[in-house]
Symmetry: C2
């Protein structure tokens, strides 16, 4: 368990180091762009599969799920460094400093999110609406899990 925790933390810090050349503000803007674009695509799936506000269009749901998975798989961990929290940047970000005191937990949630996003993309290709609904819920739950722990109100 200790090794697993250290492993996740080390992976997160290693990926952080790669993007050391980005300014803190750039990291924040880039990760926010990723989340905003994922959110738009989550909204499209929600409107079609959960709320029924728009007719179900399998190709559009699959395209939206592909965006979420691709962004989730893009190595966003490298956009999180300890100098990019509310402590240094005030209201430019909502990332609590606690994130870096709980890197094992952050890494675990991040991994859950990736798994859920890949599952959503996979079932969206199949077009099975019940499976899409379930996978969409799992993605949303992993988003919320991180927000509850590490995002300022």
């Amino acid at each position: 368990m200790k090794a697993l925790m250290l492993g996740a933390a080390a992976a997160l810090l290693a990926s952080t180091a790669v993007q050391a050349q980005m300014k803190p503000e750039e990291m924040v803007e880039t990760r926010q762009a990723g989340y905003q674009f994922m959110s738009w695509n989550m909204g499209k799936i929600k409107a079609q599969v959960i709320d029924g506000k728009e007719p179900f269009d399998q190709a559009k749901v699959a395209a939206a799920a592909d965006v979420i998975a691709a962004i989730a798989n893009s190595g966003m961990g490298s956009l999180f460094s300890p100098d990019t929290t509310t402590e240094q940047l005030g209201d430019k970000t909502r990332l609590k400093p606690e994130f870096f005191q709980n890197l094992d937990e952050a890494g675990r949630i991040g991994k859950q999110f990736n798994t859920a996003a890949n599952q959503l993309a996979s079932v969206a290709k199949s077009g099975d609406q019940a499976a899409i609904k379930k996978a969409f819920g799992d993605v949303g739950a992993s988003c919320k899990s991180c927000h509850d722990k590490f995002r300022a109100d």
Copy 2:
């Protein structure tokens, strides 16, 4: 040719109508988020394949190319409506009103961009660096083509 032009324009306007419920500012922010996140991923490929500033890592290049293709395929046309140009929104956007007077041209460039982005994702999976370099250049050229015509300085 006329039919083709009308076809592209009609497709663009139809996709615009779907997102009629978004506010103009939201459309601008969402499309900017998509472009910014694509730009980050273009930068990663450039550093590895064009500039050689970072060692070539096929998995990372493929992940970055997947982001660009997924965003390109996400129906961004729906984030462009005639009330979201510099004319209405000043410096909140760089989209020139000319875009909507040349929808056939805009549609043609958009289609080129999609084709190039999908090609980049395809060759990135193969790991052939020469092919990646060529496809990366084609994506960049289609970005520039739209910027030159429809983006304010």
